[in-house]
């Protein structure tokens, strides 16, 4: 169990993917059962791992993948943070996706790649070496593409193409950076950061730029964010996944790894790379918010909001201070939970009532109160209003920025909060306060099992987002875990 636990987490979704691919279209019940079963089993495994890891155990599995390059799956606390997030949200998204698609076409393919995606995401989290990481990172790119292009119409295909061109270009830049670094210091293990002394500062800076530039594509850092709004052509469960856990998070997570486990905060600070990165993240935060304000399509607005929010994580990582790290890490989780809520709600609205444009939201709160309540929680959390979880992140980031003598970041946070309010509150206003258009038929929100499977996951994540905020200082809360991570190594 000790060494094979990480392998199990990779193996389980592979089984689900295989089953999904293999079962014919019509056996949807079996496919659903397999997917849910695996997702649930993973949750149990993760629960066990959380307990064990909290007690200080580190699970590791390695084998020599190429001479001198080990394939290492390592479950440290940071990895487990991401794994837990993805496994938990995956279960909900699976439930949601089953209801969302019901009996749509091409479901074996969809669920197959869906599971490959979770495999890659957990793999990204557990990677113990840079090369292992790259493997999963690319797998993630590939597994996501069929999901983005799932609908197969022109828009989706275009989105898929744009997605690929951005992400592939990014990953080769990252690969080049990693290989360059490896040619100087040998194989890079996250658990034992390489010794960078003696390497010219310029080289290190260039490598850093290559890596962050490459990873920044997935993390949607300005100006590399162009693919993300396009990828909105994907079905809602995919968008939810893309934005909350899988793709953008992998990028952000990788940047955290890069700064803390490859370069180390000392080197980053010495090279003076933190401040420019923080500045770039700040630009992204503001730019994404402004662009979100200009969108008239609901999902696009959410997409630009993601562009903005994910950079909080990067901001936290680049500020290099105890509170900022915690803020960044905890936002990794909080943003995931809140954003997945928003996207699942947006999908439910589109699915049940055909609402896509913001102008169509009028009166949605009256027709689908549970959905809109969940949406509201997510939106308020994004603004950073307490007691939703987003507030906790913002608090830690703010204090962290001050600790790092970067008071200007606080102004960025404040400006972003205001912009977030400016683009989220009108949505809530429309949904709750304006009357629905007269031609919209009344529906019963939770009439069938399918409806409940569609809407309740969002309600659950909304409650979790609230709970993560209200009970932020419990030991296993995201904040508690992020603090544990930070104390376990990043505060030295």
């Amino acid at each position: 169990m000790m060494t094979f636990a990480p392998l199990l987490l990779v193996f389980l979704p592979l089984v689900a993917a295989g089953v999904s691919f293999a079962l014919p279209e019509r056996l949807s019940a079996w496919r659903n059962a397999a997917n849910l079963g695996v997702a649930f089993t993973k949750l149990l495994v993760v629960a066990y791992l959380l307990n064990a890891t909290e007690a200080g155990l580190v699970f590791e599995w390695r084998y020599e993948f190429l001479p001198g390059h080990d394939f290492v799956l390592r479950l440290d606390r940071l990895a487990l943070l991401f794994v837990t997030l993805s496994v938990f949200l995956w279960l909900l998204t699976t439930i949601y996706a089953i209801a969302y698609f019901d009996r749509g076409p091409n479901l074996p393919r969809f669920f197959g790649f869906f599971n490959l995606c979770v495999l890659a995401a957990t793999g990204v989290a557990m990677s113990g070496t840079a090369i292992t990481f790259f493997l999963f990172y690319e797998l993630l790119t590939l597994a996501t593409w069929p999901l983005v292009a799932h609908k197969g119409d022109d828009k989706s295909l275009r989105a898929g193409r744009i997605y690929l061109s951005y992400t592939l270009a990014g990953s080769v830049a990252f690969l080049a950076g990693i290989l360059w670094l490896q040619s100087l210091v040998g194989a890079i293990e996250f658990a034992a950061p390489p010794d960078l002394t003696g390497i010219p500062a310029l080289t290190l800076t260039l490598i850093f730029i290559l890596c962050i530039g490459g990873l920044g594509v997935k993390a949607a850092i300005f100006p590399l964010h162009g693919w993300l709004p396009e990828a909105m052509a994907a079905p809602a469960p995919v968008s939810a996944l893309l934005h909350a856990v899988a793709v953008v998070k992998a990028g952000a997570f990788a940047i955290v790894r890069m700064i803390y486990d490859v370069y180390g905060i000392g080197t980053v600070a010495e090279l003076g790379l933190g401040v420019p990165l923080a500045a770039l993240a700040s630009v992204t935060i503001l730019y994404g918010s402004v662009r979100a304000l200009m969108q008239s399509d609901l999902k696009k607005r959410l997409a630009y909001s993601t562009v903005s929010q994910v950079s909080y994580i990067i901001l936290g990582a680049s500020l290099i201070g105890p509170y900022a790290v915690i803020g960044g890490l905890v936002h990794l989780v909080h943003q995931g939970i809140m954003k997945i809520t928003l996207f699942m709600c947006a999908g439910a609205l589109a699915n049940r009532m055909g609402i896509k444009a913001i102008a169509d939201l009028d009166g949605a709160g009256r027709l689908m109160p549970v959905t809109m309540a969940a949406f509201s929680v997510g939106a308020l959390g994004m603004i950073g209003l307490p007691p939703v979880a987003g507030f906790i992140s913002k608090w830690y980031l703010g204090i962290g920025a001050l600790q790092s003598d970067a008071a200007w970041v606080v102004a960025v946070l404040a400006g972003s909060s205001l912009l977030n309010a400016a683009y989220f509150l009108p949505l809530l206003y429309r949904a709750w306060l304006l009357p629905p258009p007269p031609d919209r038929p009344a529906i019963r929100e939770l009439a069938t099992t399918r409806d409940r499977m569609l809407i309740l996951p969002a309600a659950v994540t909304a409650l979790v987002a609230l709970g993560a905020g209200i009970f932020a200082s419990l030991p296993f809360s995201p904040l508690g875990w992020a603090t544990l991570i930070a104390e376990g190594g990043y505060l030295r």
């Binding site: 993948f65 190429l66 690319e138 119409d153 193409r161 592939l168 690969l175 080049a176």
Partner: protein, 490 residues
């Protein structure tokens, strides 16, 4: 008993049998595929110093067969590719409508190519290499002729030219050193004009066979016109033999002769091939020419590796990268051609734009195509990635940023053109109304097994990197020479 000569003799036997059996000769593949695969595996697992003198004659008259790492991997991949392509051809006879007799000529040619390729990979004798080269060329031209006679004829002429250039080089070598054995040459070769001229002629001739830019002109028409199984063999095997012989020349026989500048000529051509082939592939709107130009680009990587291999003291990484790239390309490209053949047959057209709706109609085939795309682009996990990773590492370690850049950009360009084809499969059926938005299943799953298996192998290669690298290092020229040192002829 040694698998070395069996690997050459068995296909020849099968060829003879196929010729005699006529139409029913096609069933021989059911025997040949497992047998050859078994032999190839046996070979791969032999102890490292496996060399074998045919007929017990000493050099230079005797023929030395030597199974170094390159040969082992190439033979194994050849067995897998030809086996899979052959089994596939059982289900999907490679014939144009109304030319049923073609299928009959297909089988002997396959075995001829198999024998020639295996012999070429094993032998260390420049003249024997010439013979094997001609065997393979003959088979390849005949296979290409199954599609378009004009293209095949053009191929034939150019290939013949290449053979002659090579032969002229061999003649000069004989004149200069009175031996054609690679191992003996390695000990005596000097950098004088005759040697260089010989090397240059042989290289130029082999580059034609290997279809390296700018000598690739014959390849796209021939590959595009041939039936899918034939194209698969042409792209996977025919060009690889030229490459392997070049490896023998540049890193074994004349390793002491070649300088960095000459290596950069090859590397530069390789880099140009990557870019040029990719650009041409991007411009194609028909599927098979696209895949054919992708071969042009992929061959470029093999030669791009030459300066990288020579550039380090311990070039194991680059060496393995080069070798594995060849193997991965064989598997992936064969899979891709087979899948493309099935797809084009299903849509009864040859344009990329015609492929709409296939993702639903033939998911297994499209999956095979997709997996091949992954490996060809060099995305993990796949053999293509392992190879490209090793090459890129080597390039960066040596500070060869130009080659590193080409490696990186080539992957991206490959993504552009290959994903264009792949995403066309996901598009809805062209010109169809909403009612008929999807095609019915056009083929059963059986035909898709072979491309799927090949593409799957290309992917699986990505997980066995260490083992493959170890195999590729067996008796590699840069390693400590442990070959049988035959006595010089009295």
């Amino acid at each position: 008993m040694s698998p070395l000569d069996l690997l050459m003799a068995a296909p020849l036997g099968f060829m003879a049998a196929a010729l005699m059996l006529g139409p029913s000769g096609r069933w021989l593949i059911l025997l040949a595929a497992p047998l050859m695969a078994g032999l190839a595996l046996w070979l791969a697992l032999l102890p490292p110093d496996a060399a074998y003198l045919v007929g017990q004659w000493d050099l230079p008259l005797g023929i030395l067969l030597r199974a170094d790492g390159v040969a082992r991997l190439m033979i194994l991949a050849t067995a897998l590719v030809i086996g899979a392509v052959g089994l596939h051809a059982l289900a999907e006879p490679p014939e144009k409508p109304g030319h049923a007799a073609q299928a009959e000529t297909f089988w002997p040619l396959v075995y001829l190519m198999w024998a020639g390729a295996n012999a070429g990979f094993l032998t260390t004798d420049l003249f024997n290499l010439y013979v094997t080269l001609e065997m393979v060329s003959l088979a390849a031209v005949a296979l290409a002729a199954m599609g378009s006679l004009a293209a095949a004829l053009r191929y034939f002429m150019i290939a013949l030219l290449g053979s002659l250039a090579y032969l002229l080089g061999v003649a000069l070598t004989v004149a200069r050193y009175d031996t054609v054995d690679v191992i003996l040459l390695a000990q005596v070769a000097e950098a004088d004009l005759a040697t260089l001229l010989a090397l240059g002629l042989m290289t130029a001739g082999l580059l034609i066979k290997a279809a390296l830019f700018p000598m690739h002109g014959w390849l796209p028409p021939a590959h595009a016109a041939a039936p899918a199984p034939a194209s698969a063999l042409l792209s996977a095997i025919a060009v690889k033999l030229g490459f392997v012989i070049l490896v023998r020349l540049w890193f074994e026989a004349f390793a002491a002769v070649t300088g960095p500048a000459a290596l950069h000529v090859l590397g530069g051509l390789g880099a140009a091939a990557v870019i040029y082939g990719s650009i041409q592939a991007m411009r194609q709107d028909r599927l098979k020419p696209l895949v054919a130009y992708s071969t042009v680009a992929q061959v470029g990587y093999l030669f791009l590796a030459f300066p990288l291999v020579a550039g380090t003291v311990e070039p194991s990484g680059a060496w393995a990268g080069m070798t594995l790239h060849g193997v991965a390309h064989m598997l992936a490209k064969a899979a891709m051609f087979l899948a493309a053949g099935l797809m084009l047959k299903a849509v009864a057209g040859d344009r990329i734009a015609d492929l709409g709706g296939l993702a639903q109609a033939m998911p297994l085939t499209v999956t095979a195509f997709g997996l091949a795309v992954v490996s060809l682009m060099g995305l993990p996990p796949s053999g293509g990635f392992t190879a490209k990773f090793l090459l890129l590492s080597a390039a960066i370690e040596q500070g060869a940023f130009l080659y590193a850049g080409v490696l990186v950009i080539g992957g991206l360009l490959a993504a552009v053109y290959l994903f264009r084809a792949l995403s066309a499969c996901f598009a809805p059926l062209a010109g169809a109304g909403p009612d008929t938005a999807s095609r019915g299943p056009v083929t059963g799953g059986v035909q898709a097994v072979a491309p799927l298996a090949l593409a799957g192998l290309a992917i699986v290669m990505g997980f066995a990197g260490t083992a493959l690298v170890d195999v590729s290092a067996i008796e590699a020229p840069w390693a400590t020479p442990t070959v049988i040192q035959p006595e010089a002829a009295p």
